[in-house]
C-alpha cells in the first residue's frame, strides 16, 4: 500500500511538473516538487522502506531530464541521507526544521545542477538569471514546501489507517 501511495504521488508530481507547470508563467521558477517528497521520506519514513524508491525516482527523473545521467539520483540520495542525519542528531521534529530542510534541499539540488553545468562546460557564463532562478526557487520552497510535506504525511497516515481498518475487518470476518 505504501509503495502504491509513493508511486501515485510521484507520478502525479512528475506529470504536474513536466506538463502543467511549464504553461503557468507564475511558476516559471518553481522548484522540483519531488524535493518535499524526498524530505518527507527522510523525515517521517524509514531508510529501509524509502531508499530503493528514491533511487528509482532519481532514475526516472534522470531519464526525463536532459541533464547528465545520475544527477537526480545523486541529488535525491544525498538529500535523503542528509535529512536522515539531521533527524537523527537534531532531535527536533517541528515545522520550522521541515521548512528549512525543504529550502536547503532545493538549494542543494541547484548547487549540484549548476556545478554539473560548469563541469561539462567550464566556459559557460554565470548569469544574473541563474541567481534569480535559485532565489525564486528557494522562496517558493520556503512558502509552499511545508504545505507539501504536511500534505504527504497527512494523506499517507489517513491511507494507512484506512488500510489497517480494512485488514482488521477482514480478519474479524475470517
Amino acid at each position: 500500500m505504501t509503495y502504491c501511495f509513493y508511486i501515485c504521488v510521484c507520478l502525479c508530481l512528475v506529470i504536474f511538473q513536466t506538463t502543467i507547470i511549464p504553461h503557468i508563467s507564475l511558476f516559471n521558477n518553481f522548484y522540483d516538487l519531488l524535493i518535499p517528497f524526498i524530505s518527507y521520506l527522510g523525515f517521517f519514513r524509514s531508510a529501509r522502506e524509502s531508499i530503493l524508491f528514491i533511487l528509482i525516482l532519481g532514475l526516472l527523473m534522470d531519464n526525463l531530464s536532459g541533464g547528465p545521467f545520475g544527477l537526480y539520483i545523486t541529488t535525491y540520495f544525498w538529500l535523503f541521507i542528509i535529512v536522515k542525519l539531521v533527524v537523527k542528531y537534531v532531535h527536533i521534529r517541528d515545522n520550522i526544521l521541515l521548512l528549512f530542510i525543504v529550502a536547503a534541499g532545493v538549494l542543494m539540488e541547484n548547487i549540484i545542477f549548476i556545478a554539473s553545468v560548469f563541469m561539462s562546460d567550464p566556459d559557460s557564463q554565470f548569469f544574473t538569471i541563474t541567481i534569480r532562478t535559485v532565489i525564486f526557487q528557494i522562496l517558493w520552497a520556503g512558502c509552499t514546501g511545508l504545505f507539501f510535506v504536511t500534505f504527504f504525511n497527512h494523506i499517507h497516515k489517513k491511507l494507512e489507517k484506512w488500510f489497517n481498518e480494512i485488514i482488521a475487518e477482514k480478519t474479524k470476518i475470517i
Binding site: 512528475v14 511538473q17 513536466t18 506538463t19 511549464p22 516559471n28 521558477n29 522540483d32 527523473m61 531519464n63 526525463l64 531530464s65 536532459g66 541533464g67 541547484n110 545542477f113 549548476i114 553545468v117 561539462s120 562546460d121 559557460s124 557564463q125 548569469f127 538569471i129 541563474t130 532562478t133
Partner: protein
C-alpha cells in the same frame, strides 16, 4: 301616521336636495376640512400599501430576475467556453497551416510531432514529443519548426522521443552568418540565448544579422534559420569574437515540431 308622513316628507326633501346638488358640485367648505384631516393618513396608508406592494412585486420580480441572471450567466459562460474553443482551434489551425506550408517547402521527409512534456529542471532544455521508434524516429535526427532549428533527438522509446533544444548548454550546431558566410558553432546558454563560437575576428558581423545552419555538422539541413545576432564582443586579444544569437523560436511556446526523417548525410569519405 305622523311618522309616516314625516318620513315621506324627508325622503322627498332628500330627493329634491340630491337632484339640485347633482346639477353642480358644492361641498360647502366641509370637504376642505375633511381632506385636510384625512388626506395625510390616506397618503401614509396608501404609500405604505404601495411600499409593501412594491416589495412583494420586487421580490418576486427579483426572484425571476435572479433566475434569469443565473441562466444568462450560464449562457455567457457557455458562450465564452465555446468562443475560447473556437479561438484555440483558430490558433491551432493557423499554426498547423504554417507548419504545413513549411513542410511543403522542405525537400526532406518530415514527421509532425506534438510536444507533450518539458524538462523537469530549469537548468536543462529538453522536450518530450509524441513520436518514437514506431514512427521511424531515430536518435540524432534534427527537429525543426517554421521559425528555424529546434533541436535534435537524443533519446527514443517506442512511441516517444526526447529532444535536446538548441538553447541547452550541451547542444551545438554548425552555423554561418547569412550575409557574410562567416562560420562558427552555435551553442546554447542558460539564459535562453545561444553563443556563436569560434567566429574569426576578421569576419564582418553586425547586430541583426541572420544566422543559419551550415549543414556541415551532418545533422541539420543547410539554410535553416537559427536566430539573429544580438550582441558582438571583440576582445583586444584572441583570434575569435564573441557573438550572441537570439533564437527566432520562442521555446516556451513550442507546441508542434517537425522531425526530419532523412537529413542530408555528408559522405566525407567520398568528398575527400
Amino acid at each position: 301616521m305622523v311618522m309616516i308622513v314625516c318620513a315621506v316628507a324627508l325622503i322627498v326633501v332628500n330627493i329634491i336636495i340630491l337632484s339640485v346638488n347633482s346639477s353642480r358640485y358644492s361641498s360647502y367648505g366641509s370637504g376642505r376640512i375633511a381632506i385636510f384631516f384625512i388626506s395625510p393618513f390616506q397618503k401614509t396608508v396608501t404609500q405604505s400599501v404601495q411600499f409593501f406592494k412594491n416589495i412583494w412585486a420586487q421580490y418576486f420580480f427579483l426572484v425571476s430576475v435572479a433566475k434569469e441572471n443565473d441562466n444568462l450567466k450560464k449562457a455567457i459562460n457557455h458562450a465564452i467556453d465555446k468562443n475560447n474553443k473556437y479561438r484555440e482551434v483558430e490558433i491551432s489551425n493557423f499554426r498547423l497551416r504554417n507548419l504545413l506550408n513549411f513542410r511543403k517547402t522542405m525537400t526532406n521527409q518530415v514527421l509532425v510531432a506534438e510536444v507533450i512534456g518539458r524538462d523537469p529542471s530549469p537548468w536543462f532544455k529538453t522536450i518530450i514529443i509524441d513520436k518514437g521508434k514506431s514512427d521511424g524516429v531515430e536518435k540524432g535526427l534534427p527537429v525543426v519548426v517554421p521559425e528555424g532549428i529546434a533541436g535534435q533527438i537524443i533519446d527514443i522509446s517506442y512511441n516517444y522521443s526526447k529532444v535536446l533544444l538548441i538553447i541547452d548548454q550541451n547542444s551545438a550546431a554548425d552555423a554561418l552568418v547569412q550575409r557574410t558566410r562567416a562560420r562558427g558553432l552555435i551553442e546554447g546558454q542558460s539564459d535562453g540565448r545561444c553563443l556563436f563560437k569560434y567566429v574569426l575576428r576578421k569576419h564582418d558581423i553586425k547586430v541583426g544579422d541572420t544566422v543559419v545552419s551550415s549543414g556541415l555538422d551532418g545533422v541539420f539541413p543547410k539554410g535553416l534559420r537559427i536566430g539573429d545576432v544580438s550582441e558582438i564582443i571583440k576582445f583586444n586579444s584572441g583570434i575569435f569574437q564573441e557573438v550572441t544569437v537570439k533564437p527566432y523560436i520562442d521555446f516556451e511556446k513550442l507546441e508542434e515540431v517537425l522531425v526530419v526523417l532523412n537529413p542530408p548525410k555528408h559522405d566525407f569519405v567520398s568528398e575527400q
